[in-house]
């Protein structure tokens, strides 16, 4: 009984610690109009053309990051499971590096290597800079993407399915697109939502590469306005949570489908 009380107390304190600031922030974001609660701050933020522009930009970057991530990770994880299982620990370690190395280090490295006076001056052009940030984001998403896809691959018999497809005349491209990818699709999606959540709020890469994405916009808002930043923060939280909820939903449905197998 006592142990139970204690654990309830701990959960309660944890919840308060987590939710009080959020509630406070939410409450504050509703007080833009003097004396009454209103969604005025949200109206202003959502109506701001700069918000729409930076947010749209980040969404496009996030989607492209996901595509790039899938194109890199799915064939890699597949090939390692199929032909090079011995180097899996090494690859797993490499994919974890972005969690260990701070983004600022990565982006400084990029700027040093690809600056305008280097052999590959990516930062010199609009396209180059965007490519650079895309690669950077794909790197940041690696730990989540690789793990998700690898877990998905574990649930199917990769080797035998590959051989079955080969004996029916299929080449590598077709095997990846019609046999492997559809069977790890749910895993890919859960990796994709995490990637989306990360890229939407990312600040360091964008700021240092001088790109006008959602992250720097939030920071700019924060240092120049009173109520709107709170509204923005609540919106950002909502997006992240929506992504998490979708992952939960997908995992639930996929385990449900498997249980019927």
């Amino acid at each position: 009984m006592r142990g139970r009380l204690w654990s309830i107390a701990v959960v309660l304190i944890g919840a308060l610690y987590f939710f009080l600031p959020l509630i406070g922030m939410f409450e504050f974001s509703l007080r833009m109009k003097r004396g009454v609660y209103s969604f005025e701050a949200y109206r202003v933020v959502l109506g701001d053309p700069h918000f729409q522009q930076t947010f749209g930009y980040s969404v496009v970057l996030a989607l492209l990051t996901i595509v790039l991530g899938v194109l890199i990770v799915v064939p890699t994880a597949y090939w390692i499971r199929l032909r090079l299982p011995s180097i899996r620990p090494v690859v797993e370690f490499v994919t974890l590096l972005p969690l260990v190395i701070p983004p600022i280090v990565i982006v400084f490295g990029y700027i040093r290597i690809y600056n305008t006076s280097s052999w590959l001056p990516l930062t010199g052009s609009w396209l180059g800079t965007n490519l650079l940030i895309l690669f950077g984001y794909a790197t940041l998403s690696l730990p989540y993407m690789y793990r998700a896809v690898d877990t998905g691959l574990r649930t199917i018999d990769v080797a035998t399915l590959t051989e079955a497809a080969q004996s029916l005349g299929a080449g590598w491209g077709r095997i990846l697109a019609t046999v492997i990818l559809p069977n790890v699709f749910v895993s890919v999606l859960s990796g994709a939502f995490l990637t989306f959540a990360i890229v939407i709020g990312e600040y360091v890469f964008a700021a240092l590469l001088n790109l006008d994405t959602f992250g720097p916009y939030m920071v700019w808002m924060g240092s120049n306005r009173a109520y709107e930043p709170s509204a923005l923060a609540v919106i950002a939280f909502a997006i992240t949570w929506a992504c998490m909820a979708l992952i939960q939903l997908l995992t639930h449905f996929s385990t449900f489908a498997k249980a019927r197998r």
Binding site: D157, E163, A164, Q166, S167, A170
Partner: protein, 349 residues
């Protein structure tokens, strides 16, 4: 020239030679089984034919064409796996239509082919199901239809029935054989179940440690095993040790017995192994024959299996369960009789 020709196939994984000097010619439309214990290299030979493993040396020819260096997807071979290996994200119809689609057939044509194949395997109404909605036997039949849908030159089956329960195993093996005859497709069937191999095949290849120990019709393999290994792996033969007296006689536990064949060219006193089928031995209570003692008696329904101790060796013999004569009691002295024809002299493994 044979339709499928394997000559001097060898395969090593690292330092271990898994398949050694394997030769086999299969005629068009023939059904050949590879029979052997676990690890003897059956799957490895099959995978070399399919192109999943590269032979260390040797050549594989299909219909006169050297395919040794071709990739699996260039060989036009149908493969059925022990674990079914249906694509879980595709319906039955899509699974069967996979090969034709890869081959670039028109949509309408694919539909027709799928329908034809599903009818062939007796599941015409299950096209819209997913693999997980089927029983194991149904899944394996779909896998068979999928392999046949591309009209392959050769069909390879690697223990396709091992994952199924006994009843379905028997009915499905009959279906597979009937289908194979109907289509006239050249087939290799891998199994470690001797009953399966003997009942289905035109010819059986008994494999032992990466080599073909004996190749022959089921009747030949069962009746005239060539080596000790084949004799002990196929059927329930008695193996007896003795030594040669001359070309027509040998000594079994101090008793001289006549041998019809197989002793030519062997020196007097040389050790020799002979095989004796349980149903070739008959039992008498007195008179002529080899004297032994009954060790145990087992009723197998219509057949009574008696084990008789004969000096240092034990002989198993089968006789029909006749109500007129009671079987002997354990410990009773008996006489064993068999013809000089029934002793099969075995070669070395």
């Amino acid at each position: 020239m044979a339709f499928l020709d394997l000559s001097h196939l060898e395969k090593s994984f690292g330092a271990t030679r898994v398949v050694k000097d394997f030769d086999l010619s299969i005629e068009k439309g023939e059904f050949v089984s590879f029979l052997g214990p676990s690890g003897c290299g059956k799957t490895t030979v099959l995978r070399m034919v399919a192109g999943f493993e590269k032979p260390t040396t040797g050549t594989i020819r299909i219909d006169g064409r050297d395919v040794t260096r071709l990739k699996p997807n260039q060989r036009n071979i149908g493969m059925v796996f022990q674990a079914y290996a249906l694509f879980p994200n595709l319906t039955v119809a899509q699974n069967v239509g996979f090969g034709p689609k890869v081959a670039g057939m028109a949509k309408a044509e694919i539909g027709e082919r799928v329908e034809e194949m599903l009818k062939l395997i007796g599941l015409p109404d299950l096209g819209d199901r997913f693999p997980w909605q089927l029983s194991g036997g149904q899944q394996q039949r779909v896998a068979l239809a999928r392999a046949l849908a591309v009209r392959p030159q050769v069909l390879l089956l690697d223990e396709p029935l091992s994952a199924l329960d006994a009843k379905i195993r028997v009915s499905l093996r009959e279906e597979i054989r009937a289908l194979q005859k109907e289509l006239g497709i050249t087939t290799i069937f891998v199994t470690h179940d001797q009953e399966e191999a003997l009942s289905m095949s035109d010819r059986v290849v008994v494999m032992h440690e990466g080599k073909a120990a004996q190749v022959g019709s089921p009747f030949e393999i069962y009746t005239w095993p060539k080596t000790r290994f084949v004799a002990s792996f196929v059927g329930t033969l008695n193996l007896l040790e003795g030594e040669v007296i001359d070309a027509g006689r040998m000594r079994l536990d101090g008793i001289e017995v006549p041998v019809a064949r197989g002793l030519d060219g062997r020196g007097t006193g040389e050790p020799v192994t002979v095989a004796l089928r349980p149903e070739a031995v008959s039992l008498g209570l007195n008179g002529s024959g080899l004297a032994g003692t009954v060790e145990s008696v087992a009723f197998l329904g219509a057949v009574v299996r008696t084990r008789v101790k004969l000096g240092r060796q034990t002989i198993t013999l089968d006789s029909f369960n006749q109500t007129a004569t009671r079987p002997p009691e354990p410990g009773a002295p008996v006489r064993l009789m068999f013809g000089a024809d029934d002793l099969l002299v075995l070669g070395e493994d």
